[in-house]
């Protein structure tokens, strides 16, 4: 068994309590981090090849380098814990089982970049995570890991948990910032990027939970060590959330660059009995779907792009032959329609229209023109919106039509869904679960 980093404490009883966390060596790297200056820390982060774990995979060290260095401006840390992408459920594990890891990462980040205030913006539905974080933050304040003059090193750093109202679009970093400011979660135009104009119009670093949770390890063992547990340009272990028609759904830690096949077989326990892999989504619902022939693709941002999809959040959904791709795409369109902030025309109107057409096809009411209509329509959304939410619908739907076009045509021709009644299936699954 490889050494565990991110999930090291997941099996340890009450690791979310400060004393247990400290017994395990938690917060012991802080003095080492505090002995490093900004340049040295950013250099280690760059060396680590850590890529943002929120989905876009931006190199974390590079992003940190964008933060202004002046010490007299207020600068903010925002931890993106809004985890709402269908199929993605890794950040909540960190927050629920190892909240101090995230807090320690926040303190180090604050030290590195001179940030005085941090917000952990947590998806409202994750009540346990919110409670655990709140308790952990209180404990950290009591022990002097947070607050004024942390460890006597002159760092003043306050950290708050902000419970989001539970809108997917508040995971988009500028929608998040608007939400944090108390406004409707409507993404901002970029540029300017948050590193220049962020929360309360001040420079703001936005990083995903898993990204920040990796910081203590990187500073403890060095960037090179982290990079060694991965492939080119994709460093370090990460948490993979496996779901779908597999034997052992769950969150597993493995290096970057591991193949999908190995994740499925070694960690996910393979497909369920009687299930054949039909397709998988490698990184959350907004990624293009892949066929079994891509099982040997490595989990990395470039490698998965070559395979025709993207790494996203690294949470993989495996689907067997009972999955109706039309229904899946209709369901996704429903989600992206429901979650569209409504600001910009193509996403606001296009997602709903796409849902209506896809739903009609699934219900056997599609016309032969509908497939061309859908493709034409999503082309009108693609790239024409304020934030990436619109594309999050375009990319998957396009891939379903491209890879499973026949299924769509069958629906139209036979005027019904050829798959077993999904309602019945879902109910039986629920009962057996």
């Amino acid at each position: 068994m490889e050494e565990k980093y991110l999930s090291r404490h997941f099996g340890i009883d009450k690791a979310y309590n400060l004393d247990v966390y400290e017994q395990q060596g938690g917060y012991s790297t802080l003095p080492k981090a505090f002995a490093m200056d900004t340049d040295a820390i950013i250099a280690e982060m760059k060396k680590s090849n850590l890529r943002g774990r929120g989905g876009a995979g931006f190199p974390t060290g590079v992003k940190w380098g964008f933060m202004p260095r002046d010490s007299d401006v207020e600068k903010y840390l925002v931890v993106n814990a809004d985890e709402g992408e269908p199929g993605t459920f890794k950040d909540r594990m960190i927050m629920e089982l190892d909240p101090h890891r995230l807090i320690e990462g926040c303190v180090m980040t604050a030290w590195a970049l001179g940030l005085r205030t941090g917000y952990i913006f947590v998806r409202g539905e994750l009540q346990l995570a919110i409670r655990r974080l709140e308790v952990a933050i209180k404990q950290a304040y009591e022990k002097g890991y947070l607050g004024k003059n942390v460890l006597g090193k002159g760092l003043d750093f306050d950290l708050y948990v902000h419970s989001s109202a539970g809108a997917y679009i508040c995971g988009e970093e500028t929608g998040l910032i608007e939400g944090l400011e108390g406004k409707p979660g409507q993404p901002r135009m970029k540029p300017p990027f948050p590193a220049i104009v962020g929360v309360f119009n001040k420079p703001t670093l936005v990083n995903n939970v898993e990204t920040i949770a990796a910081v203590p390890f990187i500073l403890e063992h060095g960037g090179e060590h982290w990079a060694s547990m991965g492939i080119e340009r994709n460093g370090g272990p990460k948490l993979y959330g496996l779901s779908g028609h597999i034997n052992k759904p769950g969150v597993y830690e493995a290096p970057s660059g591991i193949t999908v096949r190995e994740l499925l077989e070694r960690f996910g326990g393979g497909m369920r009995e009687g299930s054949d892999l039909k397709a998988f989504i490698p990184g959350g619902s907004s990624c293009a779907v892949l066929l079994p022939e891509s099982l040997d693709a490595q989990m990395g941002f470039e490698t998965l792009r070559e395979a025709g999809s993207s790494m996203g959040t690294g949470c993989i959904t495996f689907m067997d032959q009972t999955t109706c791709m039309v229904r899946l795409s209709a369901r996704l369109a429903h989600f992206y329609h429901h979650e569209s902030c409504g600001q910009c025309t193509p996403c606001r109107e296009g997602t709903g229209w796409a849902y209506k057409v896809l739903n009609a096809i699934e219900a056997g009411q599609g016309t032969p023109d509908d497939l061309a209509l859908i493709q034409d329509m999503i082309t009108g959304i693609a790239g024409n919106t304020i934030c990436a939410h619109g594309d999050s619908l375009v990319i998957p739907v396009r891939s379903y039509i491209e890879k499973f076009g026949q299924e769509f045509e069958d629906h139209v021709q036979n005027k019904r869904c050829p798959f077993p009644r999904w309602r019945k299936m879902r109910n039986t699954q629920r009962m057996s679960a």
């Binding site: 809108a167 679009i169 409707p184 979660g185 135009m189 329609h337 429901h338 979650e339 569209s340 902030c341 409504g342 600001q343 910009c344 025309t345 193509p346 606001r348 109107e349 296009g350 997602t351 709903g352 229209w353 209506k356 057409v357 009609a360 209509l373 329509m377 082309t379 009108g380 959304i381 790239g383 024409n384 919106t385 304020i386």
Partner: protein, 519 residues
Amino acid sequence: MPVLTINGTEVEVDRGTTLLKAAAVAGYEVPHFCYHPALSSPANCRMCLVEVEGAPKLMPGCYNQVNDGMIVHTESDRVKRARKAVLEFILVNHPVDCPICDKAGECKLQDYYFAYDAQESRMRAEKQHKVKVYPIGPRVVYDGERCILCTRCIRFCEEITGTGELTLADRGDKAEVRTFPGQDLDNDYSLCTVDVCPVGALTSRDFRFKRRVWLLTSTDSVCTGCEMGCNIHLDHFRNTTERYRPRYNPAVNDYWMCDDGRLSYKALNEGRLEHPMLNGAQATWHTIAGAAASKLAAVIEKNGASSVGFVISPQATSEDLFLAKMFAETAIGEGVRLFINGNDPGSSDELLIRADKNPNRAGARLVFGGLDGVGDASALADALEAGELEAVYMMGTELGAARGRVEAGLDDVGLFVLQAAHQGGVLLDAAHVALPAATHAEKRGTFVNCDAVVQTVDQAYPPNADALPDWQIFMKVAGAMGHKLPFTFLRQIQDRMFEASEAPEPEETATEEAPAPAE
């Protein structure tokens, strides 16, 4: 300054200029809904997407700024496809109820549809339904289904009035414009939201269902609600004014006007004095001028010019006031007691609303060389009560709080000549001679606003019934008294007036350095 190429035309513009504005300089109109030249750019409608060579995505022209050497296309196939897609998306849930929509004919969505989309709907499913008639404020009605969620109205209330009553409620295609709880869209400029609304989502309760806009004729004019003199489009139908809309003038009112001023158009149509009246009986101009002249001459002869109170109006144009001055000097003569009536001062604000509720006090000041010693309406009432006046010759019917006292005092004078566009209630009853005057919609003239901007009103339609412009009435009466005032055309008056006073001549139209993109 960055130089860039737009559709093959090279233009040089200031750093920080948006692509949309640069395109306007190059002579290309980029269609837009959410962009308004006076408001911030949220870039939400995506109608203004343009192609920049080398950029992977189309860019919203209202947001992205020029760079040196950029090559921009606003009419490429890719841009046209995107425009068409955006229009189709907007129409997915749009009710297309143009036949009953007040905006039809001046709706951006209609115009752009014909220009850039013009295809049949491919949307077969049931549309999203929303609120149809929502009284969002006392003067404005909101239709959620027509709303394209451009947020112009919201930004107007945030950025121009600073009142911030509006917000978007709900999200996605369920989103609607709403007021914050407990609030109404009831600021002093709320009807400007109807102007900025690119579609028929916000309509004026006053104008709703009154007239198809293509039947209206529009004349450039000036609001007479206060001394700001906001520039307006005076929209009229068959010699009746049906609405005011603000007309862009960066030196005065930008794109805006206040609600009170906007609704003041009603006075143009109501309570008008239609015919010359002699002792309560209808007369003709021929007989009335002679009657007025002989009555006035008799008073002057008997009691001297100092027994005549001559009341000018700050509601009148400078030209009319210039003739009033000549009339007072020549026909009445030295010693005449001058007064100025007008509406009482009211509320004011930082934006446009000024306390002096008369459009041309500054003009009166210029024409009369200052108004020192010219009494107001209450001084007129004092003089009447003291029995100092044998005759009163009054322009206009605006008397403010002194109205009651003036009316009572007028009962006792031997001669009251009323020269006004309106009957003024009891005033007409008291008048021995009543001379019907034209409103500012019915003549040409100039007003001088509080910032000394000289502004022209154009004639929208001929004077109502027997009415005449004040300057012509003065010439008639003076002529009947044997004083020929030497004017035939307004221009001649203006030449003399600008010579005589320090008033600068009006600028023809508001000019700007660069061509401004459409509203």
